[in-house]
């Protein structure tokens, strides 16, 4: 049951079912989203969680037998096995609309700066760390991606391949 970089291994439900002490559990992954961002656990009720490579968690709407040796399983979702767990931009765009905590709302110009991959000074009196960044689109708030807030600055975490001048 060692961690294999080519196979997807389903996350154990809880600590009690865990062989690899470093592997995240389903319970901990869901708790991370509810505790830090207020996304209800029900948002993930129909999904299974998988690890491929150290700490790279994927989210899949299906239940194949574990492990599964293929190229991709659903979407990349979360980075674990580091001090601060980090959601992916894709996960935030898909599920971050239900977040109620650690959400920073930007105006259009600030959002464009963020999507271009640039850091910016920002007043924020909440927690430091990874935040869900939102802006208004078509009359409603919409999640854009993940920012890292430290020392009065919002650091864009938009992956290079997703950056755009908008």
């Amino acid at each position: 049951m060692s961690n294999d970089s080519t196979k997807f291994t389903r996350l154990p439900a809880t600590d009690a079912e865990r062989d690899d002490p470093e592997r995240a559990t389903r319970e901990a992954v869901v708790e991370f989203w509810t505790d830090r961002f207020g996304v209800p656990a029900a948002a993930f009720a129909d999904h299974t969680f998988w690890e491929r490579g150290a700490g790279k968690i994927w989210l899949y709407r299906g239940e194949p037998p574990s492990p599964v040796d293929i190229e991709g399983l659903g979407m990349t979702f979360l980075r674990t096995r580091q001090e601060h767990w980090k959601p992916t931009l894709e996960a935030v765009q898909r599920f971050g609309g239900r977040a109620t905590e650690n959400v920073v709302h930007l105006d259009r110009a600030q959002a464009a700066t963020f999507v271009a991959g640039d850091d910016q000074e920002l007043d924020w009196d909440g927690d430091w760390g990874y935040l869900i960044v939102t802006h208004d689109l078509a009359g409603e708030s919409e999640p854009v991606g993940v920012g890292l807030y430290v020392y009065g600055e919002l650091r864009s975490q938009v992956p290079k391949g997703r950056r755009r001048d908008l």
Partner: protein, 302 residues
Amino acid sequence: MEPLGRYRPIVDDFDAFRAACERPLPSAIRVNTIKATVDRVTAALEAAGIAADPVDWHDRLFVLPEASAGGNWPYFHGWTHGQEEVSAIPATVLDPQPGERVWDACAAPGSKTTQLAALMDDRGEIVATDNNLGRISALRTNTERLGVTNVAVTHEDGRNHSLKPFGDAGYDRALVDVPCSCEGTIRKNPDALEDWSLSHVEGVAGVQKGILTRAVQVTEPGGTVVYSTCTFAPEENEAVVDHVLEVEDCELVDYDLPLTHRDGITEWDGASFDSSVTRAKRIYPHHNDTGGFFCAKLEVTG
């Protein structure tokens, strides 16, 4: 344009056909209903000053007469995906339902895969296969941007598709949108016919037969297989379907397509095909001002 001359005997108003093939196509987008609604996309494009003309036969498609598909906020959010009208036909015809198991045999770069996922409301299981790692990377980028979570990606030749990773479970439906000589994409890519040769057409037809055969084999009896190409060549269209009718237990079924089209042909270049291939449909550029396409719907019987 020489390769197209061979279709003079089967295309009505050949001069109009040839003229349409020389006109460029505007970009088009599909609304990704996994992340947005048609209304929100329309509002976001309007706010950005991007003109979007609805397509009359498909309520999730829009033509952008003056803009490219990417480079705008709705695209960044994965609300939209660049996809030509005719490219939206096969997934619509396959009509997958939420909760089903579907095989997408030649999936990259994923326009049709993500359309299948949206039609299934991101529920059920789509196994998306491609034999090229570079194109799989593009497929993964697209499924992620569009927020799809029910797609599993496999790297293999569709002719030898394995059911093993999923416990040998078969499929309810399969989409077989095969690599082809791409004659129908000439309006989008004027270089499409530069390397055209009859030997390439015949070679790729062999691959197409292999993939379609495998798709019928892995689909459960009563299940649906849709075969499509973006080319006019009967060797890659009716002849391939005729082949699978001979070697596997399946039959061609009729379907509605609210676009002007012509029936599949039963004779070509001295060969004759099963009479049911007329249930397949040919889409020509001069009829609906689109690209060219071929689409056949099969039911697995055995």
